[in-house]
Symmetry: C2
Subunit: 348 residues, 2 copies
C-alpha cells in the first residue's frame, strides 16, 4: 500500500453532522479495497462515532482538530484558522503528502481559499476551477466548470478550464476524447463576450489534445448529454447549476401538487410510484455529489453541505478515482501539450 491510498476527510464539515459523514466514509470504504482514511476533527467525538463502524475503525486514523469552519465564516476569517480547523488540517495533510486527496462538506468559499493558499496552483494555471457533474438524458453526466471559484474569467482562464475539464472527464467519465463546449448565449461565432470568442478560437486550433472542441452550447442544452464538458466563468456556471437544481425542484413540486389535486390522481401516483421513484433517484443531487477543485498541486473534493450517507460516499468515490487515475499529472501533461502548440501571445 502506498501513501496515495490515504484520503483525508473533514469529518466535522457539512450540515448533517459527524454521524452521517462517518457512515458515508464507511460506505465508501466498503466500495474500495486498499483505501484508508484520515478522519480529521474532534478526536473524542470521532472515536465515539467509530464504534458503530468496525471496518472503518480498522482502515482509518484520527487526526485531531480543535476547531470547525462554520457556514457563515468568510474566506478571510477561515484562512486565519487554517491550522486549527478540521477543514484546514485535512488540506494540510494533502500538502504534507500524508493524504492523496481531501474531502469536505463544509463552506465552499473557505475550502477554496484554504486549498488555494495551502496547495497553490499548478505550473501553467492562473486560477483553479471548481468542476461538478450535472445529470443528463445521455449515458453520462456532464462535467461543468467553473461553478463559482472565479467570478470573472479571461480567455486564458477559460482555455485552461477546458484542458483541465477534459482531463477530468477522461478520468471520471472514462472517455478517451471528451466533447468540450463553451457555455454561451447562442451558437453562432459572433455570440457572447470577447473572452469566450477568443477562447473558442484557441480551442478550435488545439486539435492535438485528447479532446474534441465542439463550439458553443446554450443553457437549454445543458442536460441533453450531447457534450461531456461545459466550460464557463464561475458566475455563469453557478447561475446555470443552481437554476437547473431549482427548476428540477420546481417541477417536482408542481408534480406533487398536481398529483395531490384529486383522489383520482393520487391513485394514479400510487400505482406509478416505481416510475416516480426512478425519477427521484435520477435527480437526487447525492447521486452526482463531489465537485473537484482542478488546477491545484493536490486533490480537493467539495461534497454538498446537505449530502447524506450515499452522497458522502459518492464524493469520496470521486476522490478515489482521481487519485487512482493520477489526475494531477494528467492535467499537467495536457497543459504542457497545449502550451507547446499554441504560442503564448495567442491565448493571452
Amino acid at each position: 500500500m502506498t501513501d496515495s491510498s490515504w484520503i483525508a476527510v473533514d469529518a466535522m464539515g457539512g450540515d448533517e453532522g459527524l454521524a452521517v459523514m462517518l457512515a458515508g466514509v464507511a460506505q465508501a470504504g466498503r466500495r474500495f479495497d486498499g483505501i484508508r482514511f484520515l478522519l480529521v476533527g474532534d478526536e473524542a467525538a470521532i472515536r465515539a462515532g467509530l464504534k458503530a463502524h468496525a471496518s472503518l475503525s480498522a482502515t482509518s486514523d484520527v487526526v485531531h482538530a480543535p476547531d470547525v469552519i462554520s457556514g457563515d465564516d468568510r474566506p478571510s476569517q477561515a484562512l486565519r484558522r487554517a491550522k486549527t480547523t478540521s477543514m484546514g488540517l485535512a488540506i494540510d495533510l494533502v500538502k504534507q503528502g500524508r493524504a492523496a486527496a481531501a474531502v469536505s462538506s463544509g463552506n465552499t468559499g473557505a475550502l477554496m481559499a484554504m486549498a488555494k493558499l495551502s496547495l497553490r496552483t499548478m505550473p501553467g494555471i492562473d486560477r483553479p476551477a471548481l468542476a461538478g457533474l450535472m445529470p443528463t438524458l445521455g449515458d453520462n453526466d456532464t462535467v461543468v466548470l467553473d461553478l463559482g471559484a472565479n467570478t470573472e474569467c479571461d480567455s486564458r482562464n477559460l482555455i485552461q478550464f477546458a484542458v483541465m475539464g477534459a482531463a477530468y472527464a477522461r478520468t471520471t467519465l472514462e472517455l478517451a476524447s471528451p466533447r468540450v463546449a463553451l457555455l454561451n448565449i447562442g451558437t453562432e461565432d459572433m455570440k457572447g463576450t470577447g473572452e469566450i470568442r477568443d477562447a473558442a478560437q484557441a480551442l478550435k486550433e488545439a486539435t492535438h489534445l485528447p479532446m474534441s472542441f465542439v463550439g458553443f452550447v446554450e443553457g437549454d442544452k445543458l442536460s441533453r448529454g450531447h457534450v461531456d464538458v461545459i466550460v464557463c466563468d464561475g458566475f455563469s456556471g453557478n447561475i446555470a447549476l443552481k437554476t437547473a437544481e431549482g427548476t428540477a425542484r420546481f417541477v417536482a413540486d408542481l408534480l406533487r401538487r398536481a398529483f395531490s389535486s384529486s383522489a383520482r390522481s393520487k391513485i394514479g401516483f400510487l400505482i406509478s410510484r416505481p416510475a416516480t421513484e426512478l425519477l427521484r433517484h435520477h435527480l437526487d443531487p447525492n447521486n452526482h455529489n463531489g465537485a473537484v477543485f482542478l488546477g491545484l498541486n493536490g486533490l480537493v473534493v467539495k461534497s454538498h453541505g446537505s449530502a447524506n450517507e450515499a452522497g458522502v460516499a459518492n464524493a469520496i468515490a470521486v476522490a478515489v478515482k482521481m487519485v487512482r487515475d493520477d489526475l494531477t499529472r494528467r492535467i499537467m501533461d495536457d497543459l504542457r501539450h497545449f502550451e507547446a502548440h499554441v504560442p503564448a501571445d495567442e491565448v493571452a
Copy 2:
C-alpha cells in the same frame, strides 16, 4: 377610439407560419374590446388568410411588406432591410405613431437592432433591456431582465433595468410595490462582481420608488415566487432562462421515460393524466409568452419563435396591457424620480 388602440403585428415572423400568427391575433382580438391590428407582411397572403377570420378582418388593416427577416439574418443584415421587411415596417408604424406597440415572433437579434435604431432609447436610459416572465410556485410569474439584449452591463445599466423592470411588474403583474432582486451567486453583501455590488448599494438607497429592493437572489430561487423582478446582465439572464427551460424539459422527458418503463407505471400515468396535463399547462412556454423591450421610445414585444396560437395571443395581450397602462410614461416618471434622488456620480 384613439390611435393607442392599434397594435402592429409582424405577420410573417415566427416558425409556425402566417396561419398560426393570424389565428393568434384573432384570439387576442376576441379577448380585448377596442383593439385593432395592423397586419404587416405579404398582402395577398394575409388577405387570403383573413378569410378564415371574419371578426379579425373587420378590426384590422393590412400593411404590405415585400420582404421577411429570416432566423439566420444577422442584425447588421437586418438593419439594411428595415424599410422592406414585415418586422422593420411593424416597428416603423410605432415610430410614426400609427401603432401603439409592435409584436413579432421573428429573429430576436434583428428585432432588437431594428427597434433600437428606429425608436431610440428613452432619455436617461443607456441601453434597452429584454424583459420576460418566468413561471413560479407563487401566485405570480416573475419578471426577469435582461434576457440577452446586453451581453455585458455596468452598475448603471443594472440600476436602470431595476427601475424599468419594477415599472413593468406594476403594469403586467398589477403589483403596487414589486419586490426587486439582483441575480447573484450568493446572498452575502460581498458576493458577485463589483457592478452588481454597486448596483445593490444604489438600489438599497432608492427607498422613494414604488418598489422594494430585497437584495440578491440565487439561481435556485428563481422559480420560488419570493421576488417579482429579477435583474441581471443579458448573458446571465439568457443562461438562467434557457437553463430553466431546458431543465423543465429534461425533467418532463425523464418523467415520460419513467412512466413508460413498465405496464404498471403506464396505467398509473393514464389514471393521473389530468394531473400531468395540469403540469404541462403550467410549464408550457406559450402561457408565459411575450418578452418586452424596455427603455425604448415605443413598445415592442418579442413573441417566441415557436409560439402557437395561444402563445401569439398571449404576446399580444402583453402589448395591450402595456399600451393601456401607458408603460413608457410610467418608466420615464420612475427614472426621473430615481435620478432626482441619487446623484449621478453615485450610480456611474
